[in-house]
């Protein structure tokens, strides 16, 4: 299947910490973004294609000074970066916590070593000890080799923050790898995958480059599917002014499997609860890849689209669909980046997660559920890293663990959790987060999934688990692609709202929202 060794699963539920294999993942990193995409993101674009064969570009002129200037700029802008470069004691507590280290054995994938790639340059140029005693403190000059190391290993970090849970000082390697990528973006080493996607959002409105017309078509197709399935016309509205809810969801929900089943679930929930809602073709993307490249400005520019859409469509609430990274940026940063949202209904938090909506409705007895519809499955749940360690649901700490499980248990009869040290805030990343969900990083993705696969194997063997539910578009895409390497089947991955969709018994015959083009037809049945 692959020209590298796919890790073997033991079924023991945990993974032995491997002995280090220096250089096992050394390489050139993912494809480099070409100047056009850099320009769209306001990064320097004055660099040329290199002479030799292959995809490589040259660095920008005077790259060394520019890199150091950016590093200096960032450490004055982000306390996290400055602090985390200073205070690591090299205790080693984080060394065995990264799924990429466990799966690849490359010591540079140990969180502390990953930080050190930047730290050794920081020391050399910005600290007394590093300037005068570089050998003693492990400081090195900034060379092209170091830049390549940054590019390679900062794209072997999914910014999942598992290491930050276990570090005694909360040192968050994600902050360092984001800074690393931001510096690289400023010297002509942007990653093609991320920067191309962001430029699509700026141009078209979503990561997939799906224009409004195509989106409308897709949604109409979904309406037909649901009607054929249930006999009820559940609306999938787009750009409908005056709806109560603006739904922002990762664009994978519009067509990828199993994501789209989740989208059908949201639509059914809104329909059944009688909540009018709409998608926006202008802000048709929930995920914010600006975070992956550590660029506050690009992240803000993407977030502002959501604000504009909410104002234009005159909605009262903003709800996010199932996506881990989208939810972290939404929950933690949306208010910061694009707030204040005082034009929305203050009764609801801004933004809300779709699970908060659904769980609220279930608690209020607003949804009729037939759990037996999911009786063909024994479920387990994968806590997405960004939801688990960077967000919340509800108003109590840890709600992000409870809400999805509560909803799953409300719609399924069989649920089992994976081993305790692989769930909740100790959850393992799927292996494809943080802007690594690209085919040029397939080996990394397969190996990085090992710890999660091991836990899944354990509950499969011990408890007969047949399906794993997830609430992140990246997790779903990554798992469907990667689990066959470990002997599972693609369709064992499901959306949580897919399960809701299966169990939800539709009582409401007619949507509260009439189709704009056939209003008369629905007029009499509007309010029941």
């Amino acid at each position: 299947m692959a020209d590298y060794e796919v890790p073997k699963l033991t079924g023991a539920g945990y993974v032995e910490v491997p002995a280090i294999e220096p250089g096992s993942m050394a390489g050139k990193g993912p494809f480099v973004a070409k100047p056009d995409f850099q320009k769209a993101l306001h990064f320097p674009s004055d660099f040329n294609k290199g002479q030799g064969e292959g995809e490589r570009y040259e660095l920008v002129p005077d790259w060394k000074n520019k890199a150091l200037a950016k590093l200096d700029d960032l450490r004055h802008r982000y306390r996290s970066l400055q602090l985390y470069l200073d205070i690591c004691v090299k205790c080693g507590a984080c060394t065995d916590k990264c799924h990429y280290f466990i799966g690849t054995k490359d010591p540079n994938n140990m969180p502390v070593a990953r930080q050190d790639l930047l730290r050794k340059v920081y020391r050399r140029y910005f600290t007394f000890a590093g300037k005068h005693f570089p050998k003693l403190v492990g400081a090195v000059d900034l060379t092209e080799e170091v830049v390549e190391e940054w590019y390679n290993y900062y794209h072997q970090c999914s910014q999942c923050r598992r290491c930050s849970v276990f570090c005694p000082y909360g040192i968050d390697t994600a902050e360092v790898s984001m800074a690393g990528r931001e510096i690289l973006d400023h010297i002509g080493r942007g990653s093609k995958y991320n920067n191309e996607i962001i430029s699509k959002v700026f141009k078209i409105g979503n990561n997939l480059g799906l224009p409004g017309m195509a989106l409308a078509d897709t949604l109409e197709g979904l309406e037909e599917d649901v009607e054929a399935d249930t006999g009820i016309k559940v609306r999938f509205p787009l750009d409908e002014e005056g709806a109560e809810v603006l739904l922002v969801t990762p664009s994978a929900d519009f067509f990828a499997e199993p994501h789209v089943d989740g989208l059908m679930g949201y639509a059914k929930v809104f329909h059944e609860a009688g909540i009018s809602w709409t998608l926006s073709s202008y802000a048709s993307e929930g995920a914010n890849f600006g975070m992956f490249i550590g660029s506050y400005e690009n992240m803000r520019r993407i977030a502002l689209r959501i604000r504009e859409a909410a104002i234009k469509l005159k909605v009262k609430r903003i709800v996010f669909g199932e996506c881990g990274h989208a939810w972290r940026v939404a929950y933690s940063f949306l208010n910061t980046l694009a707030g204040p949202f005082d034009f929305l209904d203050p009764k609801y938090p801004v933004p809300q997660h779709i699970l908060e909506v659904t769980w609220g409705l279930i608690q209020d007895g607003k949804l009729v559920l037939d759990k037996t519809a999911n009786d063909d499955k024994v479920l387990t749940f994968h806590d997405s890293c960004n939801v688990a360690r960077g967000s919340r649901m509800g108003d109590k700490p840890g709600g992000q663990f409870e809400y999805p499980r509560n909803v799953i248990k409300a719609v399924c009869n069989h649920f089992v959790d994976m081993p305790a040290d692989t769930i909740h805030d100790a959850t393992f990343c799927c292996g494809g987060g943080g802007g690594l969900l690209t085919d040029d990083l397939m080996e990394l993705r397969v190996k990085g999934a090992q710890p999660r696969m091991e836990a899944l194997k354990y509950v499969t063997n011990e408890h007969g688990v047949t399906h794993m539910a997830a609430i992140c578009a990246i997790c779903k895409s990554q798992f469907t692609k990667v689990i066959p390497y470990y002997g599972f089947k693609m369709d064992q991955i499901v959306s949580v709202h897919q399960l809701v969709s299966n169990a939800l018994v539709l009582q409401r015959q007619v949507s509260v929202q009439a189709r704009p083009d056939d209003e008369d037809e629905d007029e009499d049945g509007d309010e029941d």
Partner: protein
């Protein structure tokens, strides 16, 4: 006034100046550098009080370390707690002893064994665990050597070759009140004090900054309330004020 006493007097003035000035500078830097985004590692407390409690558990019990690695936790905890006791015991060289300080003396005395044990454990780990060996630089070993040297020379004076501690006290009180006294001419004491002075001097330029630094860690000290309260850094507000997206747009008008 002996020459050595004069030298050590000046050395300690210098070391104290570097320690206090250097750490103050660093704290000032951490304090004034903005944290533009809310990044607490969740589940995080939703109130300020909760944050204080979280921090307390981190600083006193090393909670996260306990979760991640019991061996490191054991040795680190032993070392740090013993260090506190020993430091408390040493305060008798600077202030008048009262009931509490007298009470603590024996604990502080025997804590030194725990301190050495903790240091030895951490050091051995650094050598035998391949992952930790990989991330260690010479300075990490030197730091352990320095602390070990301080602990062992101190223990020698406590348990083997006593020094005139009244004289030591007179020396340090003298430094505090600019009324200089001689140090006892004991080589062990001089070694001990020299190592302590070196530790004080390198403190603000080394990883020892973790001690004040931990309190500034945004993943641990932020309240988890981004939906309720808007959190914006000054430089980000500047962008908003000028209705710009990119920082270079602001700089150039």
């Amino acid at each position: 006034m002996t020459f050595v006493s004069l030298l050590y007097g000046l050395l300690f003035y210098f070391a104290t100046f570097i320690l206090i000035g250097g750490v103050a500078r660093k704290i000032h830097q951490y304090w004034t550098t903005p944290a533009p985004l809310k990044i607490p590692t969740t589940p995080a407390p939703v109130t300020q009080k909760g944050v204080v409690w979280r921090m307390f558990r981190e600083v006193v019990f090393f909670e996260s370390l306990f979760r991640s690695n019991k061996t490191i936790w054991l040795f680190a905890f032993l070392f740090h707690m013993a260090l506190w006791l020993v430091l408390l015991r040493h305060s008798r060289y600077f202030v008048e002893t009262g009931f509490f300080l007298n009470f603590i003396q024996p604990f502080g005395k025997y804590a030194s064994f725990a301190m050495v044990l903790g240091l030895a454990g951490l050091w051995i780990r650094r050598v035998i665990v391949d992952r930790v060996r990989y991330i260690s630089s010479p300075s990490d070993h030197l730091m352990l050597a320095l602390l070990m040297g301080i602990a062992l020379s101190g223990m020698m004076m406590t348990f083997v070759a006593h020094t005139d501690i009244m004289q030591v006290k007179a020396f340090f009180r003298g430094l505090m009140f600019f009324d200089w006294h001689n140090l006892p001419a004991s080589p062990l004491l001089l070694v001990h004090l020299l190592l302590v002075a070196i530790l004080m001097i390198i403190f603000p330029i080394s990883k020892l900054l973790h001690a004040p630094g931990v309190f500034f860690s945004p993943t641990r000290n932020q309240v988890d309330n981004p939906r309720e309260k808007r959190h914006v850094a000054p430089w980000a507000l500047e962008l908003e004020k000028h209705n710009k997206i990119y920082l270079d747009e602001v700089k150039h008008g």
